[in-house]
Each structure stands twice: as structure tokens, then as C-alpha cells.
Symmetry: C2
Subunit: 474 residues, 2 copies
């Protein structure tokens, strides 16, 4: 164990290393070329009896751990959705770790609680969410969506399930599009509805939920004595960033008294751009909304912004106040442990505060517009190369495409070919892409959303993609 003086010396060394890491990040293989369990096997089976010097641990971090990391902050990271960080966020995380505050209740960290309310209100203004929404930071969109389903479950049953458990007639139905995220499945399972009661509605050719199909299904379910509980509409699907028609869906939800949750985990950040505001036309019909500043708003993971209209319903779903948690201010303040699953909470509002203030709204808008520009730029490259095909509209900054040489026409063969191509591309270590399947078609996904991605990275990426495609044998 080290003392304060030693900590200070080491922390300065760590800062220098972090600065070097960001300076050189471009040069690391984005995804390591490594076989499973090689790192595990190189670690001692037993923990050390006596303390070891920090220098030694740090050296082994660099020698053993670092080469086995996927570099999410690399500008050559184009896979999944980014978990993009930024320097102001990093600085704030240092303070958060130093304070080590446990922000479960107002009393256990008044400033953290009040800053959370303040920055969540800022986000509301920045994204155009209704003033009557209440915000709270959750860890992930998986958790936020689960909170939405649980709150819907309780609110629609007068908090009976919390109290008595499920009854015979409780066949609750949850609806989302065929393209909605797997976290909806997970939440439906956890909430006890049964996955067969998650109804996935067909999408149109741009992968958006078809509202007519939704209404038809709700009616049918009601006729059969089932209880339509919640619709999860997606703003920016994981596969192709399709956005469901919020207003149409909202009107159906109103008509049948169904909770509307909007999963904007990735694309919600784009709402800070006025030109995207139209996507949430009808948002006042929603009951809850989630987007992740830790995805595309430069705030370190974890930071999921969850908003709910009926704050009381949320709190009544989760609140349990035993004696040892009672305090004098009870009821006058927000105790955010009552707004979700966990009791303990990190001070996550601080990094949002640093990010929003350091960038400013304009700075954030600029970054996002650049990412969107880069996506259109890649889109053009795909369109202008006869060997490639675009597979979905580029709504934000995700490009869905595939290699499609003229001489290959069989779908299975094309799927195989693109699967191989993705492996070859990622095995270069120079860039990292991921994939999905869109209506049976194996699709390469490239997201231009990493904080430090510039045109040169995109140029290089496209060159690598072309080269690897040209080198394929088929």
C-alpha cells in the first residue's frame, strides 16, 4: 500500500502515460490479435501475500493488460456504437474517483444529487424533451428500459405486482419493432412477462416499425384477453439507426392506454441538433425516454440519461425506506436510489457537467455534425464503388454496406464473402468494424462516431476495406 506522497508521484506518472497513450492511440491495433485465455494464463493463480510496488503493477499493466485491450477510444474504432470519452470527461472522472462519494441519497452527497437534477434538466433543454419529464442517470440503457417496463407494470396495476406478485390474468404484452435492441428481450424476461409476450412488429423497408401492424396486434391481444402494457419505440436502431415514427406510435399508445418508452440510446444525442428535432415530434405522448451520453456525447461510460413523465410512479416502483436509510430531509429532496434498481450510486453528474460546459452546446453540435458529415462522406465512397452496396439509409453516422462484386449473386455466397471480409479487415488491427444481419443480408457496420475520428482516419479505413475486399479469393 502506498502513502499520499507516493500516490502523488505515481499519479503524475499516470497522467503522463495517459497523455502519451492518447498521443499514440492511432498506432495501437484497435482490436488485439489474441487467442482466448492467453492473458489469463499469464497471470498468477494466487494473489500476492505481500504488497508489490506500484511501478511493477503499472509495468505489467503495460506489458500484459494493454496489448490485450480493444481500444475503444481509438479514432480507428468504427464497430458497434462508440463508447466515446473526451478529455473534460476524463478530468471529471478523476475527481469522481478521488471524492469516492456514494450518492445514494441526498444526505449522502447533496451536491451530487442537486447537480444531477441540474444537468439532467440541461439535457432536457438541449434535446428538446418536454419540461415535465424528470431525469435521472442510470448505468445503461438496458437498465433504463428495464426501469420503464417495471414502472409500466406497476403503474398499470396500481402497484399490485410489487405488492402481491403476478395473478392468473396478468398476461402483459410488450411491443417493439423487429429491429429493437436485445435489451428489450432481457428486460421483458427479468420483469417476469415471458419472452413469448414480447411482440416484435414488422418493419418497413427502411427498418422502421409499421404503426398499422402495431395497432392490429394490440387489438388482437385485447380481443384475446391479454393486456397491452408497453411499446418500446426505437430512435436509432442498433443494426441500422432506423427511427420509429414516434407520433403515430404515441397516438396508438394513448388510444389503448399503453406505456410508451423510447429507446434512443445511441441516436438521442443527435437531438441536440435542431435539424434532427423533427424525429421526436409527438414526444409529449411518451412516458419515458432514454439516451446514453456515454455513447455519442463524449461522456465516459457509464452514463445513461433516463427521463420519465410520472416521477411518482417511478419512485413508487422502487422505493424501500428502511430505518437505517431514513433522514430528516425525507420527501423534500430527490433520493435517486429510489429512482432505479441500485441503492449505491457513483457521482456521475460531474462528468456530464464538465463535458457540457467544456464543449458548450455549439462545440457538441460541431462534433456531431462532423461525425455525420464523415458518414455521408463514406456513403458517397460506397455509392461510387461498383463493388460495394449500401444496405440502409444513413440516418446519422452509421453506414450499413456490403461487398458485392458483380460476379457473385447468390445471397448465401455474398453473406459468406462479407463474413470473411469482416474478419480480414479486423485482423489487420488497423480498423475495427462490426456486423449485423438486415432482412437476411450479412451487413458490415461502420460508425463514424469516435471522439477523435477525422477524415484521414475514414480515408484510411475505406482504403483498407477496399484492399481487403480486393484480396478476397472467391
Amino acid at each position: 500500500m502506498i502513502n499520499l506522497d507516493e500516490f502523488k508521484i505515481q499519479a503524475h506518472k499516470f497522467v503522463d502515460w495517459i497523455a502519451d497513450y492518447y498521443n499514440d492511440i492511432d498506432k495501437y491495433p484497435v482490436r488485439p490479435a489474441i487467442e482466448p485465455y492467453r492473458i489469463y494464463e499469464s497471470l498468477p493463480v494466487k494473489p500476492p501475500e505481500s504488497g508489490e510496488p506500484v511501478d511493477k503493477i503499472f509495468e505489467e499493466f503495460k506489458k500484459i493488460i494493454l496489448p490485450g485491450m480493444t481500444h475503444w477510444q481509438s479514432p480507428n474504432f468504427f464497430a458497434y456504437f462508440p463508447a466515446n470519452s473526451s478529455f473534460p470527461s476524463l478530468l471529471a472522472e478523476m475527481l469522481t474517483a478521488a471524492l469516492g462519494a456514494q450518492c445514494m441519497k441526498w444526505e449522502t452527497s447533496p451536491a451530487a444529487t442537486e447537480l444531477e437534477e441540474a444537468v439532467m434538466n440541461w439535457l432536457k433543454k438541449m434535446t428538446g424533451l418536454p419540461e415535465n419529464f424528470h431525469g435521472v442517470i442510470q448505468d445503461t440503457a438496458s437498465t433504463s428500459t428495464l426501469c420503464a417496463l417495471l414502472t409500466a407494470r406497476e403503474q398499470k396495476t396500481g402497484f399490485r405486482i410489487n405488492d402481491e406478485g403476478f395473478k392468473t390474468a396478468d398476461v402483459f404484452r410488450v411491443y417493439c419493432s423487429a429491429e429493437a435492441h436485445s435489451s428489450v428481450d432481457k428486460a421483458v424476461k427479468i420483469a417476469g412477462f415471458g419472452i413469448k409476450n414480447l411482440v416484435r412488429i414488422e418493419t418497413d423497408k427502411e427498418y422502421r416499425l409499421m404503426a398499422t401492424g402495431l395497432e392490429k396486434m394490440i387489438k388482437k391481444d385485447i380481443d384475446q384477453g391479454k393486456k397491452p402494457l408497453c411499446v418500446v419505440a426505437t430512435l436509432g436502431t442498433t443494426s441500422s439507426t432506423a427511427t420509429d415514427p414516434v407520433k403515430e406510435i404515441g397516438n396508438i399508445c394513448k388510444k389503448y392506454d399503453v406505456w410508451l418508452h423510447i429507446d434512443a440510446a445511441y441516436a438521442g444525442s443527435a437531438l441536440i441538433l435542431p435539424e434532427y428535432r423533427g424525429l421526436i415530434k409527438g414526444i409529449e405522448l411518451a412516458d419515458s425516454f432514454v439516451f446514453n451520453p456515454h455513447k455519442w456525447l463524449f461522456t465516459n461510460f457509464d452514463c445513461s440519461a433516463y427521463f420519465v413523465k410520472d416521477k411518482k410512479a417511478l419512485v413508487n416502483t422502487f422505493q424501500v425506506v428502511p430505518e437505517y436509510l431514513k433522514s430528516a430531509d425525507y420527501g423534500r429532496v430527490n433520493d435517486y436510489c429510489d429512482w432505479g434498481i441500485q441503492l449505491g450510486r457513483r457521482f456521475r453528474a460531474l462528468k456530464l457537467w464538465f463535458v457540457i460546459r467544456s464543449f458548450g452546446i455549439k462545440g457538441l453540435q460541431e462534433k456531431l455534425r462532423k461525425h455525420i458529415f464523415l458518414a455521408r462522406y463514406v456513403e458517397e465512397k460506397v455509392r461510387s464503388d461498383n463493388n460495394f452496396e449500401l444496405l440502409a439509409p444513413v440516418n446519422f453516422n452509421l453506414i450499413c454496406f456490403r461487398f458485392k462484386p458483380a460476379k457473385v449473386t447468390d445471397i448465401e455466397e455474398l453473406n459468406e464473402l462479407n463474413m470473411k471480409l469482416l474478419q480480414k479487415i479486423n485482423n489487420t488491427g488497423k480498423i475495427y468494424l462490426s456486423h449485423t444481419i438486415l432482412k437476411g443480408v450479412y451487413t458490415l457496420r461502420m460508425v463514424t462516431g469516435q471522439t477523435n475520428t477525422e477524415q484521414m482516419h475514414v480515408d484510411r479505413a475505406w482504403k483498407i476495406i477496399q484492399e481487403q475486399a480486393a484480396s478476397l479469393k472467391f
Copy 2:
């Protein structure tokens, strides 16, 4: 937004400030004297249009946020249970924030996944947990206990509820002691059992669950057609660190085929001391176990160590693998997103690795023994002062006591008096204690478990307690 050079300059400044903060931490009021919404009201309603300099944000952090924080890392923090950090943990958190890796799957961070398996195995060895347990880091014990209940729910029904939802006959019963943590209530609600199906069993005079009462209740429930699902035994209750008899409970669970989850959130850390190992006699009868290194093992919040015997049951409860998350290594490696609620995960194994290596087992044991010594030291002070009364055995490092001057005998009056005393003590800002109610008695709780708490802090604390008690008018 700042560039890399500016970040480096600022990060060094932040390190200096953090070192000063720890140097002076003793001098901060542990809990701020602040009225609700003062900080909120001092923050701008609107986010800034243009970016602001980090210097300005940092200044306002110091001026506005810091004075409103409860200082969890202060050696004068004796409230709740600690969320104690340490310098090696802090250093690791800097790296974690810098890498900004999203550790959902092996492929998205191989080294993080493999290090997690390695350090969780270390913890197993350090605490004497059975070799056939499988470890995973969760955020909090609330989440871990919820995972246990959900896994029990699915395993006992052949994964039917995940699939089809609850049926008429599904009246699941969960058992814990009258002293078990409120997170059990929360988990029972979320899992859909209904809070009235949480059965709280009476405790003996040392606040331990009485196994005879448990068995009687299980039998009665079976006779009534209800389904005993899970027992949550506590190792170190929140109110008084009572520990339930694991072996007796385990035998009952075996007999009636009931899942046994052990909530050792706080006191589990003490198992690294051989002299406490006896507490988990019978641990091989348990199905799952949780303890929080972020409470009493010097690892920054959040870091909850969850262990489960039947790994397949856990994974089958949570796994959902959509196309965009499939990878070539599927099934050969641990994808920890399938081991819990969230998809996204921070790289939390790193700080455990730093802490265990930097302290060494001996260093950790030394710290814990010191905390336990300090508790016995306070216990002696309480015992030797006729105006005070000890209210529970000091099993680890929590002292439960009250002020009890000879002339006050009425229980309500004593409760009132101690409530006032706690307010007075905490209003000094010099130390921070919390309270509970033990069998109707308002009880002051003092935990000597903060990383940097020394005998001098405890001496000063006791003096303040005595002074404030003497100044009470009654």
C-alpha cells in the same frame, strides 16, 4: 473542448489538487451544513452555448460543488457502511477512465474479461469460498441479490418464467431475517414475487436469523401450496453486523431444495482474516454469495463481487445474443454481459488487481485488523462510560450504542434523546454517524472502517460524542 496538451496540463493540476484534498480531508466538514436546493439554485438554468475554460469549471467545482459534498473518504466518516477507496484503486480508476473500454464481451476487451476471471478467482482464494464458485463483478449488492433471485426463479422453473411468464400456481416465497437489507425487498418486488411473499424470520437476541423459525415457515408454506424459492442469509447485517448461521440454514435449504443466497455485502471482506473464516462454515451449501470490495476492501465504488455455483443457470437467465453481438469466439470465453442485467460494463477488474497487488493479502489483513481493533477500542469506551450503553455485539467494526443517562428510563424518551444527539453530533461537521432501530430502540451506529481512520480520529470522535451528549438538555 480542450486538446491533448491542455488536458495534460489540467490533469497534472487535478492530481495536485487531489493530493491536497487527501492531505486536508480531515479539515472538511464530513457532512455539509446545507439546506436542500441551495446548490441547485446557484447553478445556471441553461447550459452554456459556447465552451468554457476548464479552469473556470474546476474553480466552480471547488466553490460550489465541493462544499456541498459529504466526504466519504474522510477518516471522520463513521456513518452507514464506508465506501472506502485507496490510492492504488484511485490510480487504476484513472487508467480505466482513460481506456474508456466497454467490457460487455470478451471480444470488446479480452484483457478486461480475463483479468476479471483472474481477480475473482483471487478473491475466492482470499475469502475461502469454494473453488467451484464462479465470480463476476456487479455494480452493487442490490444488483447481485436481484441476480440471485432471478437465477433461482428460472432454475427452479426450468427457465419457464423467462419464457412464458408467471402462471397461476407460481407463488414463490423468499425468506430472510428481520434484519436483512432492504435490497432484498427491492429485488423481490422487481422479480415479480410480490413483497407479501418475502417472509422475514424472527432473529435471536443477537439479531441472527433463527433457523428453527425458518424451517417452520418453509413447511407451512409447502403445506399451503406455496413454493419456497430462496433464502437470503446475511453475513453482517446493516443494522448491527449480525451473521446468520450459514450451515444450519444451508441444511434446511438442501432439505427443501431452496436456493441459498448469502448477502455478505459488508462483512464478506473480513473473510480474508482466518479468524473469521468460521462464519462461512457450510458455505458449500450456498448457491450464490455476494460481498462488496467497494465497501471494506479499499476498492472504489462500484465493485460488487458476486459468486454463483451454477454458472450455466446464471448465464441462461440473462443471455440474449442478437446478430450484432455475435462473435467468432462465442461459447469459448466468458461474455460477462450474459452474467447480469446490463449489457455495457466498465473495466472494474483493474482496480481490484491494483488494490490486491499493492496491499498484498497481508496489507489488507493489517488494515482490517486495525479497523476491528479500533471498534473494540470504542466498545471499551462505551462500556466504561455509565452514560452510554452498548446495544449489540461488536462482531466486526460496527459499534451499536446509545446515550442512556441514569435519570431517563422511558424508551420513547431515550429514543427522542438519541435522535437529537445524532443530529447534534452530525451538525458539528466534525464526524458523521448514522442510526438504526434495533427491536424498537433508536441506535447510534459508528463504523470504524474508513481507509484512513486512525486511533486519533476515534479518540476525537468519542470526545465529540461525549461532549454533545453532555450538552443535551433533558
